[in-house]
């Protein structure tokens, strides 16, 4: 059965989009999970300055 591109596209469009949306939701969940993780951690600059203060106090 040889299909022209338009017929093929229209045949697979809706089922593919259904599956596509499922996978996109999984991707969104993973990406959204990393947002609060990054927001809650300490900034590298803050960490470095705290380490410097510690060094000064120790000396």
């Amino acid at each position: 059965m040889n299909l022209d591109p338009k017929t093929f596209g229209s045949l697979v469009a809706e089922p593919f989009m259904e599956a596509f949306k499922g996978v996109v939701l999984v991707s969104f969940a993973i990406t959204a999970l990393t947002v609060p993780l990054n927001y809650l951690r300490k900034d590298a600059r803050v960490r470095e300055s705290q380490a410097r203060v510690k060094d000064v106090r120790a000396s």
Binding site: S27, I30, R41
Partner: protein, 225 residues
């Protein structure tokens, strides 16, 4: 499967390639885990959008199958452009503003553009896809340079080389594994709806199901007996 022996061997090694003790630092673990997860998602989504273009959008618009790979690749360019625009700027800004704000902003933009893909209809306008992929690349660009600086800064100076190697290995492994996971998920979600669509197509066009041209050998041998 090989991950468990790797962990065992590396923990016993005198000078390990993977320094697992670094994961005791919470900030290091968060930064490298975010990088690994987001790299996997980015690679998986890129492949998925290319399939969407090649299998659905371009054929629907009458593009012959011989041209769909080229055009699908070209239509993914806004993603790279977004990354190219944001990454150097974010690297420079992270020296002034710190990495936390930029990585959070970058990840938020990427998450929002991923959610926008969910609302994309199959007969979308091309500019809609371009905008989404551009912002996705922009978010990744904003995230990746400060994130790298953060990973390196949270590792002790004598482990910087090993840290860079670990980051590269995890990022590439995540990209490779994500393609397998995304394809599995896609076919898991796709199988039943596609079977239903194919059946309804056959019924509407009165196309008979595929028939075996010659009967299997055991049928022929039985009939001879």
């Amino acid at each position: 499967m090989t991950l468990l022996p790797l962990i065992y061997v590396e923990r016993k090694a005198r000078s390990p390639l993977f320094v697992f003790s670094l994961f005791k630092h919470v900030d290091f673990s968060i930064a490298i885990a975010s990088n690994t997860l987001v790299s996997g998602v980015r690679q998986g989504l890129t492949i998925l959008i290319i399939i969407l273009l090649q299998a659905v959008w371009l054929p629907l618009h009458g593009v012959p199958f011989s041209l769909t790979p080229l055009l699908a690749g070209l239509y993914m360019l806004p993603n790279s452009v977004g990354f190219m625009v944001a990454a150097p700027v974010a690297g420079r800004l992270s020296d002034r503003l710190g990495s936390k704000k930029l990585t959070t902003a970058g990840l938020s933009i990427t998450a929002i553009s991923t959610l926008a893909l969910y609302f994309l209809p199959y007969d979308f306008q091309l500019w809609q896809l371009f905008a989404i992929t551009f912002f996705s690349g922009l978010g990744m660009g904003l995230f990746s340079a400060p994130n790298l600086a953060d990973i390196m800064a949270s590792a002790p100076p004598n482990y910087r080389g090993a840290t860079s190697g670990m980051r590269g290995t995890l990022q590439n492994t995540a990209s490779a594994i994500s393609v397998a996971i995304y394809f599995t998920l896609l076919f898991l979600f796709l199988y039943q709806p596609l079977m239903n669509a194919e059946m309804s197509f056959r019924l509407s066009h009165i196309v008979p199901p595929p028939v075996v041209s010659s009967p299997p050998y055991w049928v022929t041998t039985r009939s001879r007996e």
